[in-house]
Subunit: 441 residues, 2 copies
């Protein structure tokens, strides 16, 4: 295969934030080996961003500058558009649609856009025969989109789960290490740059939910359904919960998990997608994942359990994933982004999480007075929750409240939710109960 004869892959790059600048830097730093691996040169021909004059620490003088991203995508000398603008809608979506409609391939790191509009974008790509790739949208540099799409392609996937948000994992593992509470640890993470000034998307689990929806669509060959993800964040977790979990043999991690269950006869299986803090057994590989790391487990019927782990964010890892997609495209890969052709993606109805059985950690904070334990015992009995262990901390917390932690026997999630509903509004409770599933290993 002579490389002189292959024309370069001509790239237009929209968005020159840290990731965009990282892509420019990477393409320059590793140009020679990228050419050898791609079979041809990857050549940036044009760039676009909001502010032309900002110093980004990279040399842009060799590229045409376009103020209008859509016009840039339409240039005759552009084969592929790299979208690093961000935002689920607006300019990014507009650009993506124009590029695909014009038959240009699209590479994006935009998890929100793929989670919301991945299906219509895949349809547009199929229509024009263009490539659509988004490895960088999930778990930074970890090749888990490829791992699921191609590595496990021979398998019926049973379950996909993992640590999908580095900010939350940093906070939870820091709390574990220091014994500090959530608010304090968040502030520290913000000061160190591990959490945004406005951390809502991360700590409420929305960012992890975007990634989970993408992985579920690929793994199960389903039409992406971000709206169906059940999502809970980590802000209610206290230092005392982490200490309790530790005493019971667990660590707490924010876990995104997707699996399916049989539908009614003749119907597609139902899909359950949840992002929730979970108790993870200490012997489980995910229990050892600390700091801003991401890790994804895929369980297949023949391959068993696979784990992919690495840096979940950052300009270097994200640029690595963007350029890997470009190299795949340069090598001629235009296969379906969600692993099966878009017209074969199935519509999976959302499963009811209440039907799922498992063991659950339930923590209540109650007033330090007689009768409260009986109230809890009655509620759990009436809801049909079978208790495996109950721990009441001897010493009242600050403000005179007492922490009661329960671990249930295996049972339907619905019963635990019912017990919480029965206790809801009781003036014995000083804060809303915290329910965390125990991850099945």
């Amino acid at each position: 295969m002579s490389q002189g004869s292959s024309p370069p892959l001509r790239i237009a790059l929209a968005g020159l934030g840290t990731v965009g600048a990282g892509v420019v830097r990477l393409l320059a730093a590793n140009a020679e080996l990228i050419t050898a691996r791609a079979g041809r040169r990857l050549e940036v021909v044009a760039v676009s961003a909001r502010d032309r004059n900002r110093d980004r620490g990279v040399d842009l003088s060799g590229f045409a500058w376009e103020d209008d991203m859509v016009a840039m995508a339409g240039r005759e000398d552009v084969d592929i558009v790299v979208e690093l603008v961000g935002g689920s809608d607006g300019p990014a979506l507009n650009l993506a649609r124009s590029a695909l409609a014009a038959g240009k391939g699209l590479v994006t790191a935009n998890k929100a856009m793929i989670a919301h509009h991945g299906l219509t974008l895949a349809e547009a790509a199929a229509k024009s025969g263009a490539a659509l790739k988004f490895e960088a949208a999930v778990a930074g540099g970890i090749p888990v989109v490829k791992g699921l799409r191609e590595g496990t392609s021979a398998n019926r996937v049973a379950r996909i789960y993992g640590i999908l948000n580095g900010t939350c994992n940093y906070i939870l593992s820091k709390m574990e290490e220091s014994g500090a509470d959530f608010a304090e640890t968040l502030a520290e993470a913000q000061a160190l740059g591990y959490a945004e000034a406005d951390p809502g998307f991360d700590i409420k689990g929305v960012d992890a939910a975007h990634k989970l929806a993408i992985l579920a669509a690929i793994g199960f060959g389903a039409k992406i359904d971000f709206a169906a993800v059940h999502c809970e964040g980590i802000s209610a977790i206290r230092a005392a919960d982490i200490a309790q979990a530790d005493a019971l043999g667990y660590v707490i991690r924010l876990i995104g998990i997707a699996d399916t269950e049989e539908g009614a006869t003749g119907k597609q299986p139902r899909l359950l997608q949840r992002v929730r803090p979970c108790l993870v057994p200490k012997h489980h590989p995910l229990a050892h994942v600390s700091g801003p790391t991401n890790a994804v487990v895929a369980e297949g019927d023949f391959v068993g359990r696979l784990l992919f782990q690495g840096a979940g964010a950052g300009d270097g890892p994200t640029a690595s994933a963007v350029v890997a997609d470009l190299i795949d495209i340069a090598r001629g890969d235009v296969s379906p982004p969600f692993s099966v052709p878009v017209d074969r993606l199935v519509q999976m109805a959302p499963a009811d999480p209440g039907d799922r059985t498992g063991r659950t950690y339930l923590r209540l904070t109650v007033a330090d007075r007689p009768g409260v334990l009986a109230e809890i015992a009655t509620a759990t009995r009436d809801a049909g929750v079978s208790i495996e262990s109950l721990i009441q901390k001897g010493r009242p917390e600050e403000g005179g409240e007492v922490l009661v932690a329960l671990v249930t026997h295996e049972g339907p999630q619905r019963c635990v939710d019912d017990a919480v509903a029965l206790l809801d509004g009781s003036d014995s409770l000083t804060a809303p109960p915290l329910v965390m599933p125990i991850l099945k290993a």
Copy 2:
């Protein structure tokens, strides 16, 4: 993309051991989803094995039987040959060469054949334009060949290392758990089917060395050079070493590791490939890998550290990797097996392990008599080894020997080797010294 219009990918399967039967079972069990993901049907047309009459628990009645594998590869109705015969040379190699010469794609799980003949096979594949794939040759079902070839394709790889042999990892983690010695644990592993009756290839590190040579060739774009792998097995490791390592904050794992160093001006970098038992810090992800699991770490200049982990052997995982390769080929992937075109693979001279610096664990077993410690101290001093800590076990081992364990400061490996050479032949030593590098995290 309509699938009715695409012709099936027609497969000839040579070798019907547990993996071959697994491939037949997998293709039948997941036929529908494989067709959707591959874009066309994968259809076994012919099979071949030594014994036609053996019951393999799978239905072979739909396939033509061929006694002659090479004739099977030449059939006009065959697109791809799957080689699961095994053995680095002989019938497997003969089959592989004939298939590629005839322009048929080749998928193989044969690590020994690729380690020894991967370069000439890749040349044959390039010549005829045929696909050559061997995901199943490294780490069973873990998509690490793909991960390196495509997932990290944008990176200059700094280091590839991992746990590449499930038998050794099972034995070492069992010894850790039980405190038993090597021979006893090996016998137990054999009884349980985790070690072969003839375990030499595994416990001497040869199997791991095959895999390491393959990963190094892909990661560094080098001509595969199995002969240059420095290889040591695990049979000299005692329960006492594991206990010492534990006390120092380490576990012992058999690690295959490949990295490069600058060559002389104008020369290619030199490549160092080693398979050795190492001390792994307990906080390192590989320290948590227990049982017959494989795990590979790839460090890239932009992506940072990636970890791939899963079952390293077994018919299900291996079949999963074989069929993933077939699906890639069905999707049109004929890109270079070692990630760059074979005529661009570079010849890397082997690096001298003596040049490498690091901390080292050195264990001596000595006669319980005065002066021995002075002898050791003199030898290490004369060799220029700087000692960080020295532990002499108070209680003599069986047979009156005493165990002395040293950990060196960071220094050249050569000095440790020199110290061992100075002590060699001393009648104070009751067994050859054991040298284990401490893995740099």
